[in-house]
């Protein structure tokens, strides 16, 4: 079965650079979530989108922005990168109109390293 696709899988950036992470949800899924997992930490919710509209916002820095496009893929844009942004970034998707609307399926993650 098709899963959530994230690209790139690994990304190395310098401080103050920008980065763009992409997420392709499971086909027919209408909701996308972004999470950040720091080293040795549990994942923390950043932001979510339903039908291309932002539906919830967590502890996302102002330097970060995200959007969901007409094909339901989502991009997380990160500017003025800091060392503390080094983390594993997960995207998850769900289908609000399906039999299990609260079940989120996670992608493999993008590991961002800021030097």
């Amino acid at each position: 079965a098709a899963g959530v696709i994230q690209s790139p899988r690994h990304l190395i950036k310098e401080k103050r650079e920008t980065a763009t992470l992409k997420c392709y949800p499971i086909p027919r899924h209408d909701t996308v979530y972004w999470y950040q997992q720091g080293p040795g930490q549990d994942p923390q919710f950043l932001i979510s989108f339903y039908e291309k509209m932002q539906s919830d916002k967590g502890s996302i820095p102002d330097r970060f922005s995200a959007q969901q496009f007409s094909d339901y893929h989502s991009e997380l844009n990160m500017s003025s990168l800091e060392l503390g942004d080094s983390a594993l970034y997960f995207c998850a998707s769900s289908f609000r109109g399906g039999p299990a609307p609260d079940t989120q399926y996670f992608g493999p993650g993008t590991r961002l390293t800021v030097l």
């Binding site: 549990d42 994942p43 919710f45 979510s48 916002k57 998850a92 996670f106 493999p108």
Partner: protein
């Protein structure tokens, strides 16, 4: 507000012995609860979920969890551990707001000794 607390940061068992990973939740009303597993340098895989249909939930790879409202617990168990079960396990509650964000526990690292 919802939250989950995993009572053990690390659990070590011998192969073939039972596994118990403990989780307590806090929620103002009937929660949606999940267990996810994360193998080293891998993504998060859904093990099982509770959404009020049945208190005993069976998941993949022989894992199961029991929802106990009176104890506000959702412990994860497996009768016999395999070496491949060694991983980080997260107890998760779904937020009540419309966005439905997941709130993770701190995680329990399971080690399996030969």
């Amino acid at each position: 507000a919802q939250s989950v607390t995993q009572l053990d940061s690390h659990v070590s068992v011998s192969e073939g012995t039972p596994v118990l990973l403990r989780c307590n939740y806090s929620s103002s009303y009937s929660p949606s609860l999940f267990w996810y597993v994360q193998h080293p340098n891998k993504g998060l895989q859904l093990l099982l979920k509770y959404t009020s249909a049945a208190t005993l939930v069976k998941g993949i790879n022989g894992f199961e969890a029991e929802f106990k409202k009176s104890e506000t617990s959702f412990h994860l168990t497996k009768p016999s551990a395999h070496m491949s079960d060694a991983a980080e396990y997260f107890c998760v509650v779904r937020g009540n707001n419309q966005g439905g964000k997941l709130i993770f526990g701190q995680g329990t690292e399971l080690s399996v000794k030969p």
